[in-house]
């Protein structure tokens, strides 16, 4: 009976959203899939020539591209672990009644409302050879530790990882705080009556019940990490040399040099990696979620 009735919710109301989303998000993916198999550049923007797997073959033989895949994974996994871990520890500390809790929460959270270009330029002045960090280090007698942080491989990639974590740990902290606050105090009380130690309570109540928040944080962080572009573009622009080049900056670079075919093949590889890893992560964590 009810199904026969004409629904008052008109399907045509979906059309504007469908049209914009299809044209600007889905069509480009289709174009990428097609044109990544062609010889395509700025001079022949509208006349690409089919070349099969040539672009992919070329990318996989390019040491810079292979390196940028490695860097992408390194960046994504390192920032995910640190952002999640530090966010969780801060949340555990700030969910308690500590002095100045409100102000501390605000301070940790503030960076993620600020533009990445501002953060990036600011950290360039901190990490520069004569920057704030080296000044502080020599000020407290640790001159041996001073170095050109953005000038060599290990410290350059470490620096961008640090800045990313600095920006987003506070955001994850808030997701964890709302997760922790949702855990009923009754669990802890009855565990205390049963004589459970603080560690037991953490291990058997807090950890299992925080897994849903963990899923959100890890999935967001890993996808964000794999797609990273702006923080690296602003702070190191892929340098020194190609040391901090990641997939997104690589595809942008070949795009701005006019190599559209290679750039697109790179975008397709990145898209496949992001889809596979986010689905795998999500499944892994969803399996471990406790039914509430």
């Amino acid at each position: 009976m009810k199904r026969k009735k004409k629904s008052i919710y008109p399907l045509y109301a979906l059309i504007p959203a469908l049209v914009i989303y299809t044209i600007f998000s889905v069509v480009p993916i289709a174009i990428s899939l097609l044109l990544s198999f062609t010889d395509w550049n700025m001079n022949r923007l509208f006349t690409p020539v089919f070349t099969g797997l040539a672009n992919y073959a070329e990318l996989l033989q390019d040491p810079v591209f292979l390196r940028s895949i490695g860097n992408t994974f390194l960046f994504a996994f390192a920032t995910t672990i640190l952002k999640t871990g530090i966010g969780f520890i801060l949340a555990l500390a700030l969910v308690k009644k500590v002095a100045a809790r409100g102000i501390l929460r605000t301070i940790y959270y503030a960076p993620c409302v600020i533009s990445i270009t501002v953060v990036g330029v600011l950290f360039k002045s901190i990490l520069a050879n004569r920057g704030l960090l080296n000044n502080v280090l020599s000020g407290i007698g640790l001159e041996g530790l001073t170095r050109d942080w953005l000038g060599s491989y290990g410290t350059a990639i470490g620096s961008v990882i640090f800045v990313e974590v600095w920006m987003w740990a506070g955001f994850n902290m808030f997701i964890f705080i709302s997760g922790l606050q949702a855990i009923s105090a009754d669990y802890y009380e009855s565990a205390t009556l049963d004589g459970a130690s603080a560690y037991d309570k953490f291990r058997h109540i807090t950890l299992p019940l925080i897994v849903p928040s963990m899923t959100v944080v890890v999935t967001l962080s890993i996808a964000g990490g794999l797609k990273v572009f702006d923080i690296i573009y602003v702070i190191t622009n892929g340098g020194p040399g190609f040391d901090t080049q990641v997939l997104a900056t690589y595809t942008y670079q070949s795009f701005s040099l006019g190599f559209l075919g290679e750039s697109t093949a790179g975008s397709v590889i990145l898209a496949v990696i992001v889809v596979i890893i986010s689905f795998a992560m999500n499944r892994y964590f969803t399996k471990r979620e406790v039914e509430m």
Binding site: Y9, A13, L14, P16, Y21, S125, G131, L132, F171, K227
Partner: protein, 274 residues
């Protein structure tokens, strides 16, 4: 026992304040540096300026195109926020209320967008083919399409929690779909509206990639881009760079402090649903 616990809290507080310093010191250096003369600013320390150079700000205002950047950022952020939230709300209502095979399919079609990565070259090609490359219009459309999956998802899950009887009562009273949505559902959807408005506007305002890729002219530069190119031109005059950064950060920080509760609730609840 009690004193041991108190000692623990003190140690914890000290640690937390030490971490907070890592957050505060960069801003402090920027603030102080923006009032220094060139030689002092380039020392990158936390010393007070010997002479307070307020003229740094005047110089940046004149040559930094920061104000123009503000206007451009508003031109992009306001329509993107309004349109994507509006389209997302309508789609969310229709999809979650109809909940038949077709709309479920459309839902997954939208959600698929959350895993998409930006196709730099293909979008460039598309914009050229449509002859809208380099326009605010094209950038606004790209942003809306990027935001739609998230707004649709959050509105869908929110509307599911609103009892159907409310809609039905309004229809019996003679409302059509649009009247019912505006008069009855809109007030109920306010929390998720606020969430989406906050997340979208912060995301679009701070976004650097899309304007960088698709707004070629310097006249159309957003705040983020203006700061970046200002840094490129003045990278020896750190006093000016710091002043420019201050001008970019200050309005955001003031807004953040005023709207803190909404922003934090909005950004995190949105993420949790994601």
């Amino acid at each position: 026992m009690k004193t041991k616990k108190r000692a623990g809290t003190v140690v914890l507080s000290v640690c937390l304040i030490a971490v907070a310093l890592i957050y505060v010191i960069p801003f402090l250096m920027m603030l102080l540096g923006s009032f220094k003369i060139q030689a002092e600013a380039a020392r990158f320390d936390l010393a007070l300026p010997t002479k307070w150079e307020f003229s740094n700000y005047a110089h940046v205002m004149e040559s930094g195109k920061i104000l123009r950047g503000y206007v451009n950022s508003v031109i992009i952020t306001v329509p993107v926020t309004l349109i994507s939230v509006l389209l997302g709300a309508v789609a969310g209502i229709v999809i979650s209320r109809r909940n038949d095979r077709m709309t479920r399919g459309i839902y997954y079609y939208f959600i698929f967008g959350l895993t998409l990565t930006l196709q730099i070259a293909s979008i460039f090609f598309l914009l050229k083919a449509l002859n809208i490359y380099g326009t605010f219009f094209s950038v606004i459309c790209i942003f809306i399409s990027l935001r739609i999956p998230f707004t649709v998802m959050t509105f869908c899950s929110f509307v599911k929690g609103v009892p159907r009887e409310i809609d039905e009562a309004a229809v019996i009273d003679g409302c059509n779909f649009w009247q019912m949505s505006v008069k009855v559902l809109l007030p109920i959807l306010k929390p998720i509206m606020v969430t989406n408005i906050v997340i979208t506007s912060i995301d679009v305002w701070n976004n650097f990639m899309i304007p960088l890729f698709y707004l070629s002219s310097a006249k159309k530069a957003t705040v983020s881009m203006a700061i970046y190119s200002f840094f490129g031109r003045y990278n020896r005059d750190w006093q000016f760079v710091f002043a420019a950064l201050m001008l970019a950060v200050l309005p955001m920080l003031i807004l953040f402090v005023i709207l803190q509760k909404h922003i934090i609730a909005g950004m995190t609840s949105g993420a949790v649903k994601g």
